[in-house]
């Protein structure tokens, strides 16, 4: 993933443990990919819906985990997309569709 531009660890505004940093990088990668294929607002809505569902399943008496707002999630996706738009995710999709022998042409 050479072409994906992300902050190197020393440039990050906050200090993070090596393991959290790794997770953060993967999160940016996935965010970048999902945002390149999906519309950000509806994707953020789906993530919020997921959190809501999880909150519903919390047993009574237990504290519900704080979750980011819809706008917050959308902002993160926007940032991921803006910073990594030069990366050609399209080529991955094309490679997969070529392997599967499916195309998006009109039948």
């Amino acid at each position: 993933m050479r072409n994906v531009k992300y902050y190197s660890s020393d440039k990050l505004p906050i200090r993070l443990k090596e393991s959290s940093l790794k997770i953060l990088k993967i999160l940016i990668l996935i965010g970048s990919f999902l945002a390149s294929v999906h519309e950000k607002s509806s994707l953020a809505a789906a993530i919020t819906y997921h959190f809501e569902k999880q909150a519903q399943d919390v047993p009574e008496g237990q504290t519900i985990r704080a979750t980011p707002s819809l706008e917050g999630i959308r902002g993160v996706l926007q940032a991921c997309e803006d910073q990594t738009s030069a990366f050609g995710w399209q080529n991955f999709l094309l490679a997969v569709s070529a392997t599967l022998g499916i195309s998006e042409m009109k039948a």
Binding site: I26, S36, V37, K40, A46, K53, A86, G101
Partner: protein, 354 residues
């Protein structure tokens, strides 16, 4: 226009993957995920296999048989794609209405641990479906052509027609209160067309022929030119009223013509070749210039507003209609690109800089 059905992940699958992927990553020997879906298979494979490094088995079902494709060995995720476009037949209607579902299985005894199906009130995730500006036009034309013999020739002909449309429209443009006539140089239009079609050998003579033929005529009422008619008349259903091919192509050529004209105003074309544009070209059909071209008789003048070109590019960059009002906007940033109304010291307010 074709729907990007292999790219958009259904919401339930998305939620399911978010929940279940960590479990599979932690216990790849003990856990399997089984997916049934019609949509988003390419995106799911990219996400799960290329980014997360998990192995995937895809089974494409067609007419009761299936073909297996493996991404990596010892698969932990199995995807069944049942209603493939190629396998559609009237008798398999019940398969078409199948809902997507995602199941977490225990590897040892194949016991179902957890299954998720779509909630009725769940909103679907929309696609952005962006492509770089380079060869954007060819992609759109290809997508609008059925898989029949001679489609490459038709596509090549459409490229020429689009360029001719752009030139015809450019000759009728005017800005009120401007003392001198509004001019877009043909050279710029050719450059813009060669960027959008990735074709640097556009035949000028052929374009000129079309320009001569189409000038002073209403672009949205034209009949199919002979070169195209000769090919599409052999395609099944191409000339029937409901499935006629030409009106779609004509609309597509008109919108692309407007886009070619828009890109002719971009000061640094090679730099704009990576600009991501939404592939839903019909977003342009509500813009002011297209509304005029749709009712244009070919000879009257077309008045352009100061933000005409900005509106068109911004609309395709955003990819959604309802998000912002472009009339009161002068700067749009998306995916690391910005488009703005460059009015600073400019004699002509309709010129935009990117």
């Amino acid at each position: 226009m074709a729907v990007p059905r292999f790219e958009t992940i259904p919401s339930v699958i998305f939620r399911g993957l978010v929940c279940m992927l960590p479990l599979v990553q932690h216990f790849p020997e003990d856990r399997h995920i089984y997916l049934e879906t019609d949509n988003g298979v390419c995106s799911i494979v990219t996400w799960v296999h290329h980014i997360l490094g998990l192995s995937v088995l895809v089974r494409l079902h067609s007419n009761g048989k299936f073909v297996e494709y493996r991404f990596g060995s010892s698969e932990v995720i199995i995807i069944d794609v049942r209603s493939d476009e190629l396998s559609f037949s009237p008798s398999s209607e019940q398969i078409w209405t199948m809902d997507s579902s995602i199941t977490l299985l225990s590897s040892s005894d194949k016991e179902k641990l957890f299954k998720m199906v779509a909630d009725p009130d769940e909103n679907k995730i929309d696609a952005t479906f962006k492509r770089p500006a380079y060869r954007y036009g060819s992609d759109i034309v290809n997508r609008n052509l059925p898989l029949q013999d001679g489609r490459e020739k038709v596509a090549a002909e459409i490229e020429v027609i689009v360029t001719a449309f752009a030139i015809c429209i450019s000759r009728a443009l005017y800005i009120p209160d401007l003392l001198f006539p509004y001019e877009v140089s043909e050279f710029r239009i050719y450059e813009s067309a060669s960027l959008l079609f990735g074709n640097h050998k556009m035949k000028k003579k052929k374009v000129d022929e079309y320009v001569a033929k189409y000038s002073e005529r209403a672009l949205c009422k034209l009949q199919a030119p002979e070169a195209i008619y000769a090919i599409i008349k052999d395609w099944p259903g191409a000339l029937e009223e409901d499935t006629e091919v030409w009106p779609d192509l004509r609309l597509c050529a008109r919108l692309l013509g407007i886009l070619v004209l828009t890109f002719a105003h971009v000061s640094d074309l090679p730099a704009a070749s990576d600009l991501p544009l939404c592939q839903f070209l019909h977003l342009l059909s509500g813009c002011d210039l297209d509304n005029q071209v749709a009712q244009w008789d070919g000879s009257s003048q077309l008045q352009i507003k100061s933000n005409a070109w900005f509106e068109i590019i911004a609309q395709l960059m955003i990819g959604h209609k309802d998000e912002v009002s472009l009339e009161t906007t002068s700067l749009v940033c998306a995916t690391g690109w910005s488009v703005f109304l460059s009015t600073f010291g400019d004699a002509d307010p309709s010129y935009i800089g990117i």
